[in-house]
Symmetry: C2
Subunit: 421 residues, 2 copies
C-alpha cells in the first residue's frame, strides 16, 4: 500500500470510526456469540496474495462486530470505564506513524521529554506534592501500560531497596534469606493484580482486613506489623488503594502513611480508577496523605478520556526504580546517558520498547482543557448520585456502599429470617 | 470534539501522516536537540480552556518533530528495525475506536478469538509444530507487548511448574528453599531482558559461554548443568536465542533441546528479531529444534510490518502459563470461563488490560499476503548481502560475524602488534 492509497483508505477508516461511534447505541451492547464463533468465519490460514481493503472492511462488520462488547455504548455499565475520545485517537494515529520505540532518550528525545513534562502537567492538575515532579528534584513520572505493571514495578523497587538496606546493615545476610522473610501488605479489598505482584516478585503478600466502610485504617496495619515482626518477618511494602474495585472504598492514607514511613515500608498508592477525579478540587481531599507515599499511580485510560493504554505513575525518588532494574548492555548505550540530564525510561518499566503514548495526554489535555476534563468527571459523579437517589426511592433496593465517585453499589433488600419472625 | 469535527481532523491527520512518510528522508534522521530541549517550548501547565486542533498540529512541527529520531527514515540504521505499514496503522485506528479492554473472553469475544486464530495463522506461516497451535490441543499463542515480557512470563511459568513438581515429589520442601536453589541459563550473547527476567523472578540467571560463531551448543550447557547440580542447585530454565542482538547468532537448538527435555529445563526460545524471517522456507531451517521447546516468541513489530506493539508468543501447554498467574476475583468472573471453551488472556500476561492488537496482524497478513511479506524479508536480506559484499571489497574493513539475515557486523581492520613486527 502506498501513501496515495493510505490517504483514501485512512479517510474511509476515519468515517467508519465516526459512523461506528455516532450510532453505537443501535448495537446490542453484549454480543450474542458463543465461544468459538469466529474461527469458522474466516479461512484457516493467511492468504498467499494481497486482498483488497474493501474486503477487509466488509469483514469488520461480518466477523468482528458481532463479537465485540461495546465498551463505549451508553448502555455499557460493566467494569470501570475505559477512556475514549477523538483527540486521543488523533494522537495515537500520529504515534503509530512516528513509530519510534522510545526506550532511551536517544531513541527519540521528544518521546521521552514530552512524557516527563506531561506527567508534571498531570501531577500539577491533581496537586501532587512537588517532590513527585521531575522539574523539581529526585522524583518524576512515567507512563506504564497498566496499573498492574505500576504495582509490580513499585513492589520490585521496594524489594531491591530493602535488600540493599539490610545487606548494608549486615553484610552477612544473603539475598535468599532476606527474600524468604519479606512480607508485603494490601487491603482485603485491593485489586487482584496486587496479590499477583507478590506472586511474581516471590514475596509474601498479606491482606489487611478493611472496616465496614471498606477502608483499611492504621490500627489494622499496625496490628499485622507487630505480629509479623514478632514472627521474624520483614515488612517492606504496603499497597494502599484509593477507589477499590469492589466498592470504590478509600484506604485511610493519613493514618497509614506515618506508620509506613516509621516502619520503612514502601507506600504505593493504587488509585487506578479514582485518580482522575483528583483533578477536581472538591475531590482532591481524597488524595490527602499522598505526601507519605513513595509511589502513586492512576489510569488516565480509565476516566480521563485517554484511549488505552496510559497508566501514569509517579515516584518520589526515581533512583529507587532505576536501581531495581538498571542494565546497560553495549547496544543500548548512548552519549548522554551518564550526563544526569536525561531519562531512559527503559529502566522504569518491565518491557524495553514503548510507544509514544504521551502524545495522547498532550492532545487530550489541550483539546479539552482542564475545565473540560473536570466537567467530564463531574458529569459522571452527578449521574451516579442521580442513580443513587432513584435506588434509594425504591423500597426493593438498598445502597450498600457510600457513593463517592461514579460507582454505585446496590442490592436487592433481602428480608432476613429474624425479620420474618 | 464531536464526530463531525473528527471526520475533518482525522482526515487532516491522515494527510499529515502520509506527507510525513512521503518526505521523511528530507528530515535529519537524528535530532540535533540537547537534553531538556522540550520543556521550555511549551507552557508549564495544561491550559484551563480547550485549544484548537490547528494549534496542536502546528506544535507537532515546532515542538515534537525537532526531537524525533526518525526510525522509518531510509537513513536510519540503528538497532533492529521496528515495524511500520499503512495497513497496520488502519487496524490500530480501528482498535482505538472499538476501545475494548479484552482481558477476558466476555470483555470482548472478538478481541480474544481473533488473537487466537491470528496466532494459529502466523504459527502456520512459520511451520510451527502443531502442538503450539490452539486449534489442535493444549497449546496456543498470545500477543505480548514485548519480547521482554514473553521471556519473563515463560520464566515465571517455569518457576511455578518446577516448584509444584518438586513439592509434589517432596511435600516438606518449602517454596523459599526451592527458590533459593533455582538456576536459569541463557547465552552470554542473550538480550539484557533475559538477565532482567531472572532479577524480577528472584532466581539466579547464569550465562553459558558462546562459541566463536556466537552460538551456545550442547556441551557448554551440559557442563554448566553438571557443575550446578553438583553444587546442589536446581536448573529449571534455559532461554535460547535465535538471532542475538549483538551479532544475530543462533543457539544450537538441535543440541540444546534434547538436553533441556531430559533435564526438566523449560526451553524458551527468544527469536525477537529473526523470527519474522522464518515465514520464508529458505530460512525456516534456522528454527529447527523448536519441537523441543516449551515456549517460543518473536516480534512481528520488529520485522513483519506490524506497528509496535505486537510480540507473539506460543506455548505447548497453556495450562503452564495460566497456572503461574491465575487469579479469579469475583469482579472478573463470567459465565463461560469454566466451560473450557474459551481463553481469558489476562492469565497469560503481566498486565490485566489489553488492546485489540490482533487486528494489526489481520490487516497486515491480508493486505500484503504471505508472498508480499516474504518479499519484504527477502529484500532486507538481499540488501544486507549487497552491503556485505561492498564491505568485503574494502580492505580497510572486515566482516566479523556471518551475515545470515539483515544484520551486518563489520569493523575497521586493526593491525595487531605482532603483524607490525
Amino acid at each position: 500500500m502506498n501513501s496515495t492509497e493510505f490517504r483514501k483508505m485512512g479517510k474511509e477508516m476515519v468515517d467508519y470510526i465516526a459512523d461506528y461511534l455516532d450510532r453505537i447505541e443501535e448495537r446490542p451492547v453484549l454480543p450474542e456469540v458463543e465461544p468459538g464463533y469466529l474461527r469458522p468465519l474466516i479461512p484457516d490460514s493467511a492468504p498467499a496474495k494481497p486482498e483488497k481493503f474493501e474486503d477487509v472492511m466488509e469483514d469488520i462488520e461480518r466477523v468482528i462486530m458481532p463479537g465485540v462488547t461495546h465498551w463505549h455504548s451508553p448502555y455499557f455499565f460493566a467494569y470501570f470505564p475505559t477512556g475514549s475520545s477523538y483527540p486521543s485517537f488523533l494522537a495515537d494515529m500520529l504515534s503509530s506513524a512516528i513509530g519510534c520505540v522510545g526506550f532511551s532518550w536517544a531513541a527519540s528525545p521528544a518521546c521521552t521529554e514530552l512524557e516527563t513534562v506531561m506527567l508534571d502537567w498531570l501531577g500539577n492538575m491533581i496537586n501532587l506534592p512537588e517532590d513527585f515532579l521531575a522539574k523539581n528534584g529526585e522524583g518524576g513520572g512515567v507512563i506504564q501500560g497498566s496499573a498492574s505493571e505500576a504495582t509490580l514495578v513499585a513492589l520490585l523497587a521496594a524489594r531491591m531497596k530493602t535488600i540493599k538496606r539490610l545487606q548494608s546493615e549486615n553484610p552477612e545476610l544473603t539475598e535468599a534469606s532476606i527474600l524468604s522473610k519479606l512480607v508485603a501488605y494490601s487491603s482485603d479489598q485491593a485489586h487482584s493484580s496486587v496479590e499477583r505482584a507478590g506472586l511474581i516478585g516471590a514475596v509474601k503478600m498479606k491482606t489487611i482486613p478493611s472496616d465496614n466502610s471498606f477502608s483499611v485504617g492504621g490500627a489494622a496495619l499496625k496490628q499485622a506489623l507487630e505480629e509479623d515482626k514478632a514472627a521474624g518477618l520483614i515488612p517492606f511494602f504496603f499497597c494502599a488503594t484509593l477507589g477499590t474495585t469492589p466498592s470504590c472504598g478509600f484506604d485511610r492514607l493519613l493514618e497509614l502513611g506515618p506508620i509506613c514511613n516509621e516502619e520503612n515500608l514502601w507506600l504505593h498508592i493504587d488509585a487506578a480508577y479514582a485518580g482522575s477525579a483528583f483533578i477536581c478540587p472538591e475531590f482532591r481531599h481524597l488524595l490527602n496523605g499522598v505526601e507519605f507515599a513513595d509511589s502513586f499511580n492512576f489510569n488516565p485510560h480509565k476516566w480521563l478520556l485517554v484511549v488505552f493504554d496510559c497508566s501514569t505513575m509517579w515516584v518520589k525518588n526515581r533512583a529507587d526504580l532505576i536501581g531495581a532494574f538498571k542494565m546497560d548492555p553495549l547496544y543500548l548505550k548512548h552519549d548522554h546517558q551518564e550526563s544526569g540530564l536525561i531519562t531512559d525510561y527503559r529502566h522504569w518499566q518491565i518491557p524495553l520498547g514503548r510507544r509514544f503514548r504521551s502524545l495522547k495526554m498532550w492532545f487530550v489535555f489541550r483539546m479539552y482543557g482542564v475545565k473540560g476534563l473536570q466537567e467530564h468527571i463531574r458529569k459522571h459523579v452527578r449521574l451516579a448520585h442521580e442513580f443513587e437517589e432513584l435506588v434509594r426511592k425504591d423500597e426493593q433496593f438498598e445502597i450498600c456502599a457510600e457513593v463517592i465517585l461514579g460507582l454505585v453499589c446496590f442490592r436487592l433488600k433481602v428480608k432476613r429470617p429474624r425479620e420474618n419472625q
